[in-house]
């Protein structure tokens, strides 16, 4: 573990170097440990694949006793202490979330491209994508956008050469070895293989997201009719 400053308002806590399930678990366990330690001055923890970024408030840290000439050092020392007994366990109980997806057709215009790249049939791509177990490593890019670990390597497909100006909300995509779901209509260059009727971002609720870092995800193939039914019911 290494803690280094990101300017004068954040610390970067490194918990590994590679994108894998074990590192991701350490990242989420570290977030839980830092949350539990309630270090004065720390305002937000942002977990990513291999790091936690801890944002802080300078006057709050000083009010809690941080020496004015070494605020970052004081916060780092407390973070190190909190992470000293880090176990592999995350305190927050990870949710298991099933995401219904209508694959292919107008909802998944790049399914054929992914299939060709993997040298599989489109049906086989859907089967393997939906059979895998995923973990939410981080949520970012846009509100509620989950970056998932667990895509079967054979399905890895390069991004589109030309990003789309607008990807419809709910689109399920693949980019390199990553898979994720677009919660909002935004520009994007991922290969779109299907769409979910679920709302991943809902600012009127708290938490405003369906998926949180650390959650477990499965995809389930649904028909057009079920998609329409669920979309109408939400």
């Amino acid at each position: 573990m290494r803690i280094t400053p990101v300017g004068d308002s954040a610390l970067r806590i490194e918990l590994g170097e590679r994108i894998d399930e074990a590192t991701s678990q350490r990242v989420h366990a570290a977030c839980a440990a830092l949350d539990a330690a309630a270090i004065p001055g720390l305002t937000e923890l942002v977990p990513a694949y291999t790091t936690v970024t801890a944002h802080y408030d300078v006057p709050a840290a000083v009010a809690a006793g941080a020496p004015v000439d070494d605020i970052a050092g004081w916060l780092s020392a407390r973070a190190e202490l909190a992470l000293g007994k880090l176990s592999g366990k995350s305190a927050r109980k990870a949710a298991n979330v099933e995401i219904p997806v209508c694959f292919g057709g107008e909802f998944g215009p790049d399914l054929a491209r992914v299939a060709a790249h993997a040298k599989l049939s489109p049906e086989e791509v859907v089967k393997r994508h939906a059979a895998a177990h995923y973990t939410v490593a981080l949520v970012g890019f846009s509100p509620g956008f989950p970056y998932l670990i667990g895509l079967p390597p054979v399905l890895a497909t390069p991004r589109l050469a030309q990003p789309r100006a607008q990807v419809p909300a709910g689109s399920v995509g693949i980019a390199g070895g990553q898979t994720g779901v677009y919660p909002l209509a935004t520009p994007g260059g991922w290969n779109l293989i299907g769409r979910t009727p679920l709302r991943l971002f809902r600012p009127e609720q708290n938490p405003p997201v369906l998926l949180q870092p650390g959650d477990r995800v499965r995809f389930r193939a649904i028909t057009r009719e079920e998609f329409a039914r669920q979309e109408a019911a939400r």
């Binding site: 300017g7 004068d8 990513a48 694949y49 291999t50 970052a72 981080l138 938490p207």
Partner: protein
């Protein structure tokens, strides 16, 4: 009530930002110069977190339906009521029925207008900041349009008492050095970024030695700078992780981008430097074609500057509290 006669360009409701939701990918946003927003709110007797208006390049024209106490700052927008110029950084009394008109920005880019009582819009995820891409927060999640009506909250006891005897324009003002105002005097102070060592020695030297030019490619998320390429020692792929305001990231093309408050929550480009919080507001004023230089300071020095500025603001607040009594 304030009626929007002309909306200006990108006039939005902002506060200090939406905090606590970055782990869910929700951008912080907020006034691009948070310190200026805090000072303007203080001048009209508001809490620092009160919502105010931010505008860019062309300011709005606003009709006040009731007496109000306002304060504005930022670029020179030539603000006026009828033929009367309204100086920045002072409390200004507006009478019911009067129209406050801002013109086009000269020198800088952005301006902020605080009103006693604050702009009353619903809190979404704890903030009144407009998040345009998500279409929520602020006034219906979008920039203002002609015909919109903005409600104001209740003015504080201080503001009401002051308004009772206020001249059109206050005889006092905050000293401009307290505020990050254009023109950009001196270099912008910055620290080495987390990936500083990834860059070639020549790139490290150039970053602090070169005079960078602001491009048209600038918005609330960041400002792209034009100048020499900043090569890395070796081509390395970065794993996406959390970023912060002021981060200077360098994409493969080599032109640095300085991130502003509406930045994304995570990024995957190497960060050569991070701008000090006290100098962030000045970057929001970089008009296309203007130049900027960076000067290296340590994290501890940046914290010292930050705390000194907080003491400045406390003195302003103390002075104001005494003023009306």
């Amino acid at each position: 009530m304030i009626s929007v006669v002309k909306p200006g360009l990108l006039t939005t409701v902002q506060d200090l930002g939406r905090f606590g939701y970055q782990k869910f990918g929700v951008v912080v946003g907020g006034a691009l110069d948070r310190f200026a927003a805090r000072v303007m709110n203080s001048l009209v007797g508001n809490d620092e977190e009160a919502a105010l208006l931010e505008f860019a390049q062309l300011g709005p024209e606003l009709r006040f339906e009731a007496d109000a106490l306002i304060a504005w700052t930022g670029a020179d927008f030539g603000a006026r009521i009828g033929g009367e110029l309204l100086s920045a950084d002072r409390a200004v009394r507006v009478r019911a029925g009067e129209t406050v008109a801002f013109g086009a920005a000269r020198v800088g880019v952005r301006g902020w207008l605080a009103v006693a009582g604050g702009i009353e819009v619903p809190l979404v995820l704890g903030s009144r900041t407009t998040y345009r891409r998500g279409g929520f927060g602020g006034f219906e999640g979008r920039p203002l349009r002609a015909g919109d009506g903005l409600r104001c909250g209740d003015a504080s006891e201080w503001a009401r008492r002051y308004l009772g005897k206020a001249p059109r324009i206050s005889t006092w003002s905050v000293r401009p050095p307290t505020l990050g105002k254009p023109p950009l005097a001196g270099a912008v102070r910055a620290m080495r970024g987390p990936e500083w060592d990834w860059f070639a020695v020549e790139a490290q030297r150039l970053f602090f030695a070169n005079e960078w030019t602001a491009t048209k490619d600038a918005d609330r998320m960041g400002v792209r700078l034009a100048g020499p390429e900043l090569p890395q020692r070796a081509s390395r792929e970065m794993v996406s992780e959390g970023v912060a305001d002021g981060v200077v990231q360098v994409p493969a093309g080599g032109a640095p981008i300085v991130l502003l408050p509406s930045r994304q929550t995570v990024g995957g480009y190497p960060r050569i430097a991070v701008v000090a919080t006290v100098d962030l507001g000045r970057l929001a004023q970089l008009a296309p074609g203007r130049t900027v230089r960076f000067e290296e300071i340590s994290v501890a020095e940046a914290h010292g500057l930050y705390l000194a500025r907080e003491r400045d603001l406390n003195r302003v607040r103390t002075g104001l509290a005494r003023l009306a009594l």
